[in-house]
Structures are given as structure tokens and as C-alpha cells.
């Protein structure tokens, strides 16, 4: 496969610094629906291209991909804005898809793993919108104490973040497991460290948003019961499809 092909694929299955293109685009697109489409379609486009080109992925590209994932995982630790955080996490997650691609893959299987990584991020976009509407922004630390002032939304945010960082039994966990099965020993350890960094970043974000005294603005309205039920249904669907499809329970 020619070098230029990697450059093109590297835009969609992020390789640093090409990964900056996606993050720039994600930051510029403010429409939630467009962001959701971007999150679902971006890695699938990359996988489709890679499959079409059909050549072996050399080891240096694999190491580059893992380094990209680690770089974004480290940078994730200090991010406070939920939208940017989502983009960085997506970059870190999708870079790992090079590993199954390196081992030769069935497009359907790896696409399922990509969706397993991306689906919780779509819900995170929705949560970002809900936070923006109430607080004017989704910055951890600035608007703390949401557990007291917006308890339902806080629960939604927490579950969403846990699902996004591949906590079992959400689909990301099974996708990560299937990637792990194909990784070399060194990459396996690297991958697990990246996973640890995601959890750390998520915990920092949770503490920034949820913990603290009740917000001074008493006019804050929590999400309505129907929205809350909608979120619950979405999480359940995510969980069930994750266990059955990416988890391959049956």
C-alpha cells in the first residue's frame, strides 16, 4: 500500500498529526446531529477505505497508532470541556482499530467493534447538549455539584462516561477485549495502560461535574422524566446490544 494511502486512511483511523483534522472538524461542528453522524461514520469510512485498499498494515504504522492512542489518552487527563473530551476520546479509541486491521480482518466484525466504541460517544454528545442548555457550557470544575442540583442528568452523565471508557458490560469493553486478543505482547500492555488512562480521565471529569455543593443558581431545571426514561432506554439498549453483539453472549 502506498504511503499516501496511509495518509488518507490515517485521517479516519486517526494517526497523529492527521488526527488533528478530525478534532478540528469536531470542534467546528456544533450541531449535535452532525457530531453524532461524524462519530459513527468517521471510523467506518476509515475501515472501508482500508478494506478496499486491502494491503497489509506494517508494524511501524501499528506502533504509530498505539502512540497516537496513548498521546490522546494522556491529553484527555486535563481536558475540562466535554465536547473536546469526546473528540479526544474518539481519537484514542479509533486509533486502536489499526490492531485488528494489522492482523487481517472481517469488515463486519471490526465495524461492530468500531460501533461499540462510538455508540456511547453519541450519547455523550446528547448529554453535552443537555448540559449546554442548562449551564451555558459543559465545563467540569466550573459547574460542579451537579449531583445535588441536577441529579438525573448527573446519573446520565456518569453512566455515559463509564460506557465511553469501555467499562464492562458496555459494548466498548467487548470491543477492547477483541482488540486485545489480536495485539502483540508489548501492544497488549500499552493498550491496557491506555485503558487505565481513559478511566482516570473519566473519573476526573465525573469529580469536576458531579461533586461539590449545590449550584448557587436555584433556577436550574433537571431533565424531565420522559428524557430521563429515554436515556435509561438508550443505556439499556446499549448494554443489551453490547453483550449480545460485541460480547457474543449467545
Amino acid at each position: 500500500m502506498a504511503a499516501w494511502s496511509y495518509l488518507v486512511v490515517g485521517l479516519f483511523l486517526p494517526l497523529f498529526p492527521l488526527s488533528m483534522v478530525f478534532n478540528l472538524l469536531f470542534a467546528r461542528v456544533s450541531q449535535p446531529l452532525a457530531r453524532a453522524v461524524l462519530l459513527l461514520a468517521w471510523p467506518l469510512t476509515g475501515l472501508g477505505l482500508l478494506h478496499k485498499l486491502g494491503a497489509d498494515v506494517p508494524d511501524p504504522v501499528l506502533n504509530w497508532a498505539l502512540a497516537t492512542s496513548a498521546l490522546y489518552a494522556v491529553r484527555l487527563l486535563v481536558l475540562r470541556e466535554l465536547g473536546t473530551w469526546t473528540g479526544f476520546l474518539a481519537t484514542s479509541l479509533w486509533a486502536l482499530l489499526w490492531i485488528p486491521a494489522h492482523e487481517g480482518f472481517e469488515l463486519a466484525d471490526i465495524a461492530l467493534d468500531a460501533l461499540g466504541f462510538s455508540a456511547p460517544l453519541v450519547l455523550l454528545v446528547l448529554i453535552t447538549v443537555l448540559l449546554n442548555r442548562r449551564l451555558g457550557g459543559a465545563y467540569a470544575g466550573i459547574s460542579g455539584g451537579l449531583a445535588a442540583s441536577l441529579p438525573r442528568l448527573s446519573v446520565g452523565l456518569i453512566i455515559c462516561l463509564l460506557a465511553a471508557v469501555a467499562t464492562p458490560p458496555f459494548p466498548g469493553f467487548f470491543s477492547l477485549l477483541s482488540v486485545l486478543m489480536l495485539a502483540s505482547p508489548v501492544n497488549m500492555v500499552g493498550l491496557l495502560v491506555v485503558w487505565l488512562l481513559w478511566s482516570w480521565a473519566a473519573a476526573r471529569l465525573i469529580q469536576g461535574f458531579v461533586v461539590g455543593a449545590r449550584a448557587a443558581d436555584s433556577s436550574l431545571q433537571d431533565i424531565s422524566r420522559p428524557v430521563s426514561w429515554g436515556l435509561a432506554m438508550a443505556f439499556t439498549a446499549l448494554l443489551v446490544t453490547g453483550v449480545l453483539l460485541t460480547g457474543d453472549l449467545l
Binding site: 488533528m20 478534532n23 478540528l24 470542534a27 498521546l71 494522556v74 491529553r75 484527555l76 487527563l77 486535563v78 481536558l79 473536546t84 455539584g145 449531583a147 445535588a148 456518569i158 463509564l162 467499562t167 464492562p168 458490560p169 469493553f173 477485549l177 486485545l180 486478543m181 505482547p185 497488549m188 500492555v189 491496557l192 495502560v193 485503558w195 487505565l196 478511566s199 482516570w200 473519573a203 469529580q207 458531579v210 461533586v211 461539590g212 455543593a213 449545590r214 460480547g247 457474543d248 453472549l249 449467545l250
Partner: protein
């Protein structure tokens, strides 16, 4: 009938769901749902234990085809009874204790989720279920410790716990992947059968599979059971509600001992893994005990006491006494749970009366007033050294005559002897009306404890490992070359005797006002009181990484 094990984690899960659905209408009455569910769970676990005791063979019950199975075996049902029992007590205690706290329903939901995850962990029949439960326990504990969402401090230390648990998740995931890659199955019984058939299988980089998996599982256990260097979270997590502390110290922290037992069929094929486990356990028990003694905060002292106990439990696994570790974790769990749950009443009682017993023991230990008249030291030394060893040898000889052939049993006997000797040594100069009566009582209670401990551990061994070959193979795997063993024993004996002499010497000098703490001693004290600076080093590393992340983001313009 043993298929009922599938209901074990389901009951608390259903309870959590019901509480969530009815919280707004039932308000504080939701706790009753949780209480009833936890009682039913306990009764179910007890029924399953009864079935196992009555001779029902171990069985694997599946929900899915690739994974999703629960294992009915002596270890899982015994642990299920312990967990559900402690969970029930914690539920009952929490109903009133948490009544005035915000997030009452949330607390019971989390408590039920934790019970379900713990039950899933002990009954997991495959690696995916085990990983799932292992991971979820850390997540739920994080939120239980951070029950007070207003407290940044509570969340800070809850995060320490979460992060250490996540570190412990990683080696277990790695072990699971290696086992799957080697045998193509997630099922634990199938994996153990494969290992028994082909123990010499190698894995990544040509490393022996059993040794590698054994060490990875041990690492996971170390993080969960607060072993040295992965222990900092334990003494600092006292910001959480008392019932959570009780559950954590009585149940969750013991998971290390359980997981090592679960992988016993792997450890019988290892060469060095159990030696490393012993070493880590030994270091942890010593450091935990030293730190416990130097704390001036009672809660941190309790935390380090648990660390020392966990070290001892891991050490028991390291010498091959696997079932003894299970007995230890149960005994410690009940003891520590009682301490935490009773702490409030004790404090309340202390406000009314100091409750200090003005008896010989108090005068001697607390007021440090020894007797003027001493017994002949040679006689007392002989009693101190001889009585414990005679008691231990007799009891073990009665229970299992061949114990002298097991190095692990001898190591544990040695520790028992040292403890017993110290107990008797401390009575030597006690001011009492009748010293011989006191010494007799101490020897009698010591004998009861030793008989109970030995008999119960023997019964545990028979129940948990009905294949009598298994404990022998575990002891064999834990054994070392005789020359090394003797060197180690002599070294440890020398250290202990030296310690006793030093204590005696310094006690005498102090009594006659001849000592002032030396420079080195003060340095050592400073080191211990700062808990060896381990938490400070971790904080420094963390700050460094966060600073680097911040700089990277600035350089790369946040994209």
C-alpha cells in the same frame, strides 16, 4: 436444585431496580425492599451451602453459550454465604444509620449492586464473568465511598481506591486473554482441565503459561487486598459512610485471597509464583503492622491493621495454605466488620463513662506499672518458649500427623509460636494477685484459640479441597529447597530474638531514665509517621503527568 445459584446475583440486582423505580413513592421505605432482598439472598446462599455440604457435586450453570456461567462449588457457596451474611448485617445497620443522609435510595441501590457484583465474582464460572464482576466492584465502590457528593475529600480518596482497583483489573484482563489464547475457551473448569493435561504450555515470549498467569493473578490480588506499594488507598478511605467501611474491610478487600484460591489449579503447576506471593505478603504484614502501631488517628490505624491482616492472608497463600487463607479472610471479615459497626456505640458509651477496667491487665498494659516482685526469669523464659510450641505441635499432630512434612505449615506454626511466646512474655512482670492463675488462664485461652483455629482450618481444607491431592500439591508448589528454608527460618528467628532483646533493653533503659531517642531513631520514626512517603511519591508522579498533559495540550492547540 443447585441451578438456584443463578438467582444469587439476580436477587440484589432486582432489588436495586425496584428501589430505583419506587424511590419517589416509597421514599425511605425503599430500604425495606433492599433488606428483604438481602435476607432472601442470604437464605438462598445458605441453602446452596447446605446442598454442597450434603454432597452435591460441583456444577457449571450456563446462561450464554460462549460465556455467562456460574459455578456451583464449595468455594463459591461458602464465599456467597459470607458475603450475603455481611451484606445483610450492613443493610440492617444502614437503615437507621443512613436515614438522615442525602441520597438514601441511591445508597441502597449501590449497596445492592455491590452485593450482586461480589456474588457474581465468587460464583463466576468463566473469565468474562469474573472480569466483569471484578471491574464493576471497583466502580461501585468508588461511588459508595463518594456517597456524600458534596465532599471533595471523600471523592479524592475514593478515586485512589478506584485507580488502584483499575490497576488491579489490568493484570487479570491480561491473564484472561493469555488463557483464552492458549486454550480457546473462557470457561474456568475447562481451562483448569487443559492446564492439568498440558501444564508445560508456553505463552507470549516463550514464558511458561502457568507461571505467567499465576503472577498476573497475584498482581490483581495485591491491588485488591492492599499489598505493599498498592496499599495507600486503604487507610485513607475512611471518609465514606461507616457501613461502607465495614463492607469494604469485611468483604471487598478480601477478594485477593479468594482469587488466588480460585486459581489454585494454576498455582499447583507454578515454580516461583507462590514464593513471590509469600514475600509480598510478608513485607505487607510487617509494614502494615508497623504503620498501624505508629498512627495517632484511630481510623488510619484500623486501615493499616487491615493491611497487616491482608498481608498475612496473602502470606498464607504463599506458603500453600490456601484454605487457611479463606478461613482467615472470613474470621478477619467478621471481626473487622464488628469493629466498624460497633464503633459508633463505643464512642457513644465512652461519652457517658470512660469504661476503663481497673484490673491487673489494664494497670500493666496501659498504665505500664509492672510488678515489683519478679518470678525467676529462667522459669518464665522456659514457659514462654516451650508452652506455645508444645500446644501447637500437639494440636497439629492430633489433626494432621504429617504436618511436619509441609514447609508452609511449619512457617505458620513458627508465626503462631512467636505470637504465643510474646503473649506469655508480656505477662512476665504483670502485677497480679496470683500470677500463676493468670498464666494458666492465658495458656488455656491460647490453647482454645489454637485448637479452634487448627480444627476449623482443617475442616475448611476438607470442604474446599475434597481432592486430598490438591492441598499437598499446593504445599509442594510453595516449598523451597531445604537449605534455603532452614536459612530463612534461622534468619527470621535471629531477627525476632534480636527484636525482643532490643525491646527489653530499651524498656529497661527507659524505665531508669537513661535514654533519649537517638538521631537515627527519630529519622526512622519520621519515615514511618510519613508512611514511608509512598503516597507523597505517587502524588508527585501524578502532578508531573498532569503537568505534561497540560503542556502537550497547549503546544498542540487543543486539537
Amino acid at each position: 436444585m443447585d441451578r438456584l445459584i443463578l438467582l444469587l446475583p439476580a436477587l440484589p440486582l432486582v432489588s436495586a431496580l425496584l428501589i430505583h423505580l419506587t424511590a419517589t413513592t416509597l421514599r425511605q421505605r425503599v430500604a425495606r425492599i433492599s433488606q428483604v432482598a438481602s435476607l432472601l439472598t442470604f437464605l438462598l446462599a445458605a441453602t446452596l451451602l447446605g446442598l454442597s455440604l450434603s454432597g452435591d457435586a460441583p456444577a457449571l450453570h450456563r446462561v450464554g453459550s460462549h460465556w455467562g456461567s456460574l459455578l456451583f462449588d464449595p468455594l463459591s457457596v461458602l464465599m456467597a454465604v459470607v458475603i450475603s451474611g455481611i451484606s445483610y448485617i450492613v443493610h440492617v445497620y444502614s437503615i437507621r444509620y443512613m436515614a438522615e443522609e442525602p441520597g438514601y435510595a441511591r445508597f441502597f441501590i449501590l449497596l445492592d449492586l455491590m452485593t450482586a457484583a461480589l456474588l457474581l465474582m465468587v460464583a463466576a464460572g468463566d473469565l468474562i464473568m469474573l472480569l466483569l464482576a471484578w471491574h464493576v466492584i471497583g466502580v461501585v465502590l468508588y461511588f459508595l465511598l463518594g456517597q456524600d457528593t458534596r465532599s471533595h475529600t471523600a471523592y479524592r480518596y475514593a478515586f485512589w481506591t478506584f485507580f488502584t482497583y483499575r490497576i488491579g483489573d489490568l493484570p487479570l484482563v491480561l491473564a484472561a486473554v493469555l488463557l483464552y489464547q492458549a486454550f480457546g475457551t473462557w470457561s474456568l473448569p475447562e481451562i483448569f482441565a487443559h492446564i492439568d493435561a498440558t501444564p508445560g504450555v508456553t505463552t507470549l515470549l516463550g514464558l511458561p503459561l502457568t507461571e505467567t498467569v499465576g503472577l498476573l493473578v497475584a498482581l490483581a490480588a495485591f491491588a485488591r487486598s492492599a499489598q505493599f506499594l498498592l496499599h495507600t488507598w486503604l487507610p485513607y478511605t475512611m471518609e465514606g459512610p461507616t457501613p461502607v467501611s465495614a463492607l469494604m474491610h469485611a468483604g471487598i478487600v478480601n477478594a485477593g485471597g479468594f482469587i488466588i484460591n480460585r486459581f489454585a489449579p494454576v498455582y499447583i503447576h507454578t515454580d516461583d509464583a507462590l514464593h513471590w506471593i509469600f514475600l509480598v505478603g510478608l513485607v505487607t504484614s510487617i509494614i502494615g503492622s508497623v504503620l498501624m502501631l505508629t498512627q495517632n488517628d484511630i481510623k488510619k490505624s484500623l486501615g493499616y491493621s487491615t493491611m497487616g491482616q491482608m498481608g498475612f492472608m496473602i502470606m498464607e497463600c504463599g506458603v500453600g495454605a490456601f484454605s487457611l487463607a479463606i478461613y482467615h479472610l472470613i474470621a478477619h471479615g467478621l471481626f473487622k466488620g464488628t469493629l466498624f459497626l460497633g464503633a459508633g456505640s463505643v464512642i457513644n458509651e465512652a461519652r457517658r463513662s470512660d469504661n476503663v477496667p481497673k484490673d491487673d491487665l489494664y494497670t500493666f498494659i496501659v498504665e505500664r506499672q509492672p510488678a515489683r516482685h519478679r518470678q525467676p526469669w529462667l522459669l518464665m523464659a522456659a514457659i514462654t518458649l516451650a508452652v506455645p510450641v508444645v500446644v501447637f505441635a500437639l494440636v497439629h499432630w492430633l489433626v494432621a500427623g504429617d504436618f511436619f512434612q509441609k514447609q508452609g505449615a511449619i512457617v505458620l506454626l513458627f508465626f503462631g509460636w512467636v505470637t504465643g511466646a510474646q503473649l506469655l512474655f508480656s505477662t512476665y512482670r504483670m502485677r497480679t494477685q496470683n500470677l500463676w492463675r493468670t498464666v494458666s488462664m492465658i495458656v488455656f485461652s491460647f490453647t482454645i484459640v489454637v485448637v479452634g483455629y487448627t480444627l476449623i482450618s482443617h475442616v475448611f481444607d476438607l470442604f474446599l479441597y475434597p481432592d486430598r491431592d490438591m492441598p499437598l500439591r499446593l504445599y509442594a508448589a510453595a516449598g523451597v529447597d531445604l537449605a534455603w528454608f532452614l536459612t530463612f527460618m534461622i534468619l527470621v528467628t535471629a531477627v525476632i530474638v534480636l527484636g525482643w532483646l532490643l525491646t527489653y533493653y530499651s524498656d529497661r533503659r527507659q524505665r531508669y531514665g537513661k535514654t533519649r531517642p537517638g538521631h537515627h531513631w527519630m529519622n526512622f520514626y519520621a519515615l514511618v509517621s510519613r508512611e514511608f512517603y509512598i503516597a507523597d511519591i505517587y502524588s508527585w508522579l501524578t502532578r508531573g503527568l498532569l503537568r505534561l498533559a497540560g503542556r502537550l495540550n497547549v503546544w498542540l492547540r487543543w486539537v
